[in-house]
């Protein structure tokens, strides 16, 4: 549910205090820890996809039965929360007294990278209420940086919300997009006949633009982000509709 760092320290202490397993040889180290369970679960989800992550398969990949996982994790839901906390730990923490726009840009960029590394994470992060310590740290530092830069508490909350909305929304669309950028032109040529010119004239024409090399077909993460950051910068100077404090 919460921090897994403490649990990690705890388990290291535990295994070092038990000298060696008395009967079994060197085959099974029997040092399954919560930390290892989470790490292996993330590796499995990263490699084989989220749907392939079952308690049974995870256990098998750790040379253990499914039920033994429940000694380290309350259940699958708890495991997912712990995994999400790890993902958020990969977000770049804003420096409280750093330049707010650059701090937000860097955090957003690192968020996108982390979410691209863990394709399964965004859908979960946004549809669950996981409040691990890393998640609290991230929110606190992000709010703190904006507030220190002169935004009100309300403005900081709205700003964070707008930035996160963009990062999650953009990255999920990006993850979902079926063709690689290098293949846009070829894909457009292939799909053109399937997009009826009468029913969808603008989509048809858009595909033509890509085929003719007039548009590379790539949306840009920074396009929407800079729109938001620009708007925030102007808002900061003239807080027209602010909500106090």
């Amino acid at each position: 549910m919460f921090d897994d760092t403490q649990q990690y320290i705890y388990s290291v202490h535990m295994s070092s205090s038990s000298p060696a397993s008395p009967k079994s040889g060197a085959r099974k180290p029997r040092a399954l820890t919560r930390d290892k369970v989470i790490t292996q679960a993330m590796a499995l989800a990263d490699q084989d996809g989220f749907d392939a992550l079952s308690m049974r398969k995870l256990a098998a990949s750790l040379d253990v039965t499914a039920m033994s996982l429940y000694n380290h994790v309350t259940g699958k839901d708890d495991l997912l929360d712990l995994m999400l906390n790890r993902v958020v730990a990969e977000f770049e923490l804003p420096q409280i007294d750093g330049p707010w726009d650059e701090m937000m840009r860097r955090r957003a960029g690192s968020m996108r990278q982390a979410l691209l590394r863990h394709r399964w994470a965004p859908a979960l992060l946004i549809s669950k209420i996981a409040l691990g310590t890393e998640i609290l740290r991230d929110i606190n530092a992000t709010l703190g940086c904006l507030i220190t830069a002169g935004f009100s508490y309300a403005q900081a909350d709205w700003a964070r919300n707008a930035i996160d909305s963009h990062v999650y929304g953009y990255t999920m669309q990006e993850l979902n997009f079926p063709v690689a950028p290098e293949q846009y032109q070829a894909a457009a040529a292939q799909f053109l006949p399937m997009i009826s010119r009468q029913d969808y004239p603008f989509m048809h024409q858009a595909a033509m633009q890509i085929i003719e090399g007039k548009y590379d077909g790539m949306t840009r993460f920074s396009f929407g982000l800079e729109l938001i950051l620009d708007g925030l910068a102007r808002w900061r100077q003239s807080p027209s509709g602010g909500g106090g404090a």
Copy 2:
């Protein structure tokens, strides 16, 4: 996979051509159609949550065995695509020659409402590639409105992407948020002792602001949206970094 309107017309034709069931009384109308399957699936997901939607339960709620659903739908994945197409049909279609900013505002607002009605939809919409006719219609009209307003094809694509990112990202955070707006103040008071003032000073202070009534704690959908629309309006006048056409 594609349109379900045609299938609907087809099934109506079918059932009217078969006069009456010969043996069974009036108990089972036996008029299961693809349309009914989709409608019932959406009702079930809306009411009981996405996780409660299984082929077996859906079938039972239609007084039929699970396997009979496969006569109307390729599988669960196909069913989900058809459901998503219905959700997108609830988005307000931009008028091609209408005022672009107002059209985008209205579409975005109606998207949010539709996603709030169908809580299960956003996570799927953004993590699947469903291309039903309603989805193509929406994309075409949105691009068309922006292009007719003077944006280039590239700009229109980026603009749509930025708006959709915000709508999906914002709405999913909104759906996920655990407490109702009326209870923010009470919730902040309740959770304050759990937010360490030393570890998370800004979160602590933010909670204080809400408790003291200095900030109502509500993020606003239109805050981020207007940031984006404002930025687009400026971009339209001076397309500094445009991608051609």
